[in-house]
């Protein structure tokens, strides 16, 4: 078989797909060549995930044709498309938490693997291939997010696929793990496998994609070799307008100490103390699993942690549960928006008003008109893409869902907003809006704690950065003057360059 660079493995022509009230895909046509990495970018809700789900057989397309490996594909199921050699790593993690790593890698193929022993042996082999040392008998629920991602990749590899779709695989990977992923992608390419790579991280797109398609509003705007795009052009095509900078200026006026946190100790955290100033954005940098989330959860009263002290403007403020925290002026955007952030079947407006509905009650009675007002206001302010505020939030794209959570907190204008991976899976345009909001909050005298696995984001937005390694704070830096390398090595506990 010849893996000449011009042969088309997948040809999508005029594919349309509508959901009630939304035209998610409008005559989409894309050709993917053999042994190439095809990047797809586009803002939230552009239809990227929908297109991929049509390819894998989760959704049925309304019209259009799909030709894969010379075969026209009409109705397909996830099972059939996998057997044809089309594997997909979904945007949301797709593992069975209650089962072992090995069984997850080869889910549904127990017989083919000749039992449990065969399953684990094969899984080991696949994991070794991507350089992962995760034990195959471990329960998936015990893994960190990035480890889960590795398991997903191993799972996709297990099908001897000709095409692997990766829908934002890197949204929860650290830099080091990202290096690993790049290597894997290179390997796959060498083996003649094509990859569709969806990401909001433009660095990645420019690093290793061969061709790039840009989607907007359910349409393909342009498909070209990467080399023919400039970064700004790409951004402009994605959002339909010019964006000068990816990051706004960081907030200028850092004031006196707003909050002091003294010695948080848990099984995982060791004597975590830090302070937060008015008007400041404080970034936390660390590997996945370093304990950043645990720190802020403890602070917010989400986990039962005792013995630490929180002083707000010098006053000791006991925080035993999230309510206390909100009362003390906190807001919290959790890292997992579906499980921790949203009530998926509820409307956009009731999700937005979740933290503030008690404020618009009178004698314990709700006032619904105000709820609608709040919903409408935030939807407009954050330009959430939704047909109406009454639509169940589950129908929105990932990025727009995230905006709803941001809107929820903006409504009560917290003095300290904790943002755990606030831009995970959010497009450039929306990201910029969120950065502006952060800046706005800070400049009005509030403070922000920012956790992000995207290093540039933390470094460009924060006034001050704390590095976290294995539950300890290992350093404090001013990102304006310190090099990224230096900060990373404090966060890694060693020098973590890609080799």
């Amino acid at each position: 078989m010849d893996s000449g660079g011009s042969e088309v493995i997948l040809s999508i022509k005029d594919v349309c797909k509508s959901f009630p009230g939304v035209k998610a895909l409008d005559k989409v046509s894309i050709d993917v060549k053999r042994a190439m990495v095809h990047g797809i970018v586009g803002e939230n809700g552009a239809g990227k995930s929908t297109l991929m789900k049509i390819l894998s057989g989760v959704y049925e397309k309304d019209s259009g044709t799909v030709v894969f490996d010379g075969q026209q594909i009409e109705h397909t199921t996830p099972q059939q498309s996998m057997q044809r050699g089309l594997a997909i790593i979904y945007q949301e993690l797709n593992l069975v938490n209650t089962m072992s790593v090995g069984e997850n890698v080869l889910l549904g193929r127990f017989r083919e693997m000749k039992g449990m022993r065969g399953t684990h042996a094969k899984a080991r082999e696949l994991l070794d291939r991507i350089g992962s040392k995760i034990g195959t008998t471990r329960l998936v629920s015990e893994l960190s997010v990035s480890e889960k991602q590795m398991v997903e990749i191993a799972k996709a590899l297990s099908f001897e696929s000709k095409l692997i779709i990766m829908d934002e695989p890197s949204s929860s990977l650290t830099a080091e793990e990202m290096c690993e992923l790049v290597k894997i992608i290179q390997q796959l390419k060498d083996q003649g496998i094509s990859i569709i790579y969806i990401s909001h991280k433009l660095d990645e797109i420019f690093e290793f994609c061969d061709n790039v398609s840009v989607m907007r509003d359910g349409r393909v705007i342009d498909t070209k070799p990467k080399s023919e795009f400039t970064r700004n052009e790409l951004i402009m095509q994605m959002v339909g307008r010019e964006i000068e900078n990816e990051y706004p200026e960081r907030p200028q006026r850092v004031g006196e100490v707003l909050m002091e946190v003294r010695s948080i100790n848990t099984r995982k955290l060791h004597d975590v103390s830090f302070s937060l100033h008015k008007g400041e954005i404080l970034g936390f940098v660390g590997l996945v699993g370093a304990g950043r989330t645990e720190i802020v959860r403890a602070l917010f009263g989400a986990d039962r942690v005792r013995g630490h002290q929180v002083l707000i403007e010098g006053k000791p403020t006991p925080i035993l549960n999230p309510r206390d925290a909100i009362g003390a002026g906190f807001g919290f955007i959790p890292e997992d928006r579906k499980l921790q952030g949203l009530v998926l079947p509820f409307s956009v407006e009731s999700n937005i008003s979740m933290a503030s509905f008690r404020k618009f009650t009178r004698l314990g009675f709700l006032r619904k008109s105000i709820e609608k007002e709040i919903g409408t206001r935030q939807v407009k302010a954050l330009s959430v893409k939704t047909p109406s505020t009454k639509v169940p939030v589950v129908n929105l794209s990932g990025g727009n869902q995230q905006k709803c959570i941001v809107g929820r907190w903006l409504e009560i204008s917290p003095s300290i907003l904790i943002m755990d991976e606030p831009t995970k899976g959010i497009d450039v345009g929306a990201k910029y809006e969120i950065y502006m909001l952060m800046k706005d909050i800070a400049e009005r005298g509030g403070a922000i704690i920012l956790i992000s696995s995207e290093l540039p984001e933390v470094l460009n937005m924060s006034n001050r950065v704390l590095t976290v390694f294995e539950g300890r704070i290992t350093g404090e830096f001013d990102p304006k003057v310190t090099s990224a390398d230096k900060i990373m090595s404090a966060a890694l506990g060693f020098d973590g360059e890609c080799s």
Partner: protein
Amino acid sequence: MTVQGTNSAIRVGASILRDYLVLVMIAALVALTALIEPKFLSPENLTNIMFQFGPLMMVALGTTFVIIGGFIDLSIAGTINLVAVVTISLIQPMGQVPALLTGLATGTVCGALNSVLILSSGALTQAEALFMTFGLSTVYSAIALLYSHGSTMHFWDITASKSIFQAIGSGSLGFLSWSFVIFLISLAALWVFQEMTAEGRAVRLTGGNKTAARLAGVRISRSIVVIYAIGGFMAALGAIVLFSRVTTASPVIGVGYETNAILAVVVGGTTLKGGKGSVLRTVMGVLLVVLMSNCLNLLGVSTYLQVVAEGAILTFAIWLDNRKHM
């Protein structure tokens, strides 16, 4: 334009039909029975129905909240047993008002105890609550048996005044029975709670996604206590209406009420997944369950076939209701 008009009318009609399917089934049942047995629509029978649906209605209204809050309560049967024997036995020594209040308090405490055990263990899934309350139902029933030594108490054992209970059981206010008036008041109160209060919203959010609700500052433990306390209180009210109606209370008087209540709630269209539903829907669900047995009695269907028919119609209603969510 006219075509479009009729089209949209049809669409609206279809969506109402889908939304209020139980209502359609009730209407069909009523029409069919009235056709075969005209006495069905006689004032006597309507009065009967008004009295018959009292106890289950109270219980099911309470259960609705537990289900909207994402939980389930099987302890209802035990609670009814306990409240019935305790209340009736206290009328003589304490007088009727204190007995009534003690009875209601007993139910509320049972409900609250459910929630305390659930919260203290962190059994925050519906399934854990299901079996926890199943165990508790047994415990409450056992207490009722121990308390009453297994014997039945009768109204004529009571020489003290029991006028309140007699009124609840068989008295009328104009053409409405007192139990119906109590039902209307409870319904109104619970509907207001569900639709218009902050706590009602908190309950709904808790049912929708506990984790997210908590992180947004909703006091989910309070919501859980509230729903179970309401469940217990309404079960107590149901127990009182029930024993007042039959003028006797045995320690097994509540058998079957828990599953009937859950069935009625779900038939009404409140989903077990939590977060969605309404007490108004429950009224329709209970109406269907009670009407069914009334209709089948009037049609002279044997008890055994009645059970078959009930099971079949309930299953069918649940299935149909489910289809509209698909």
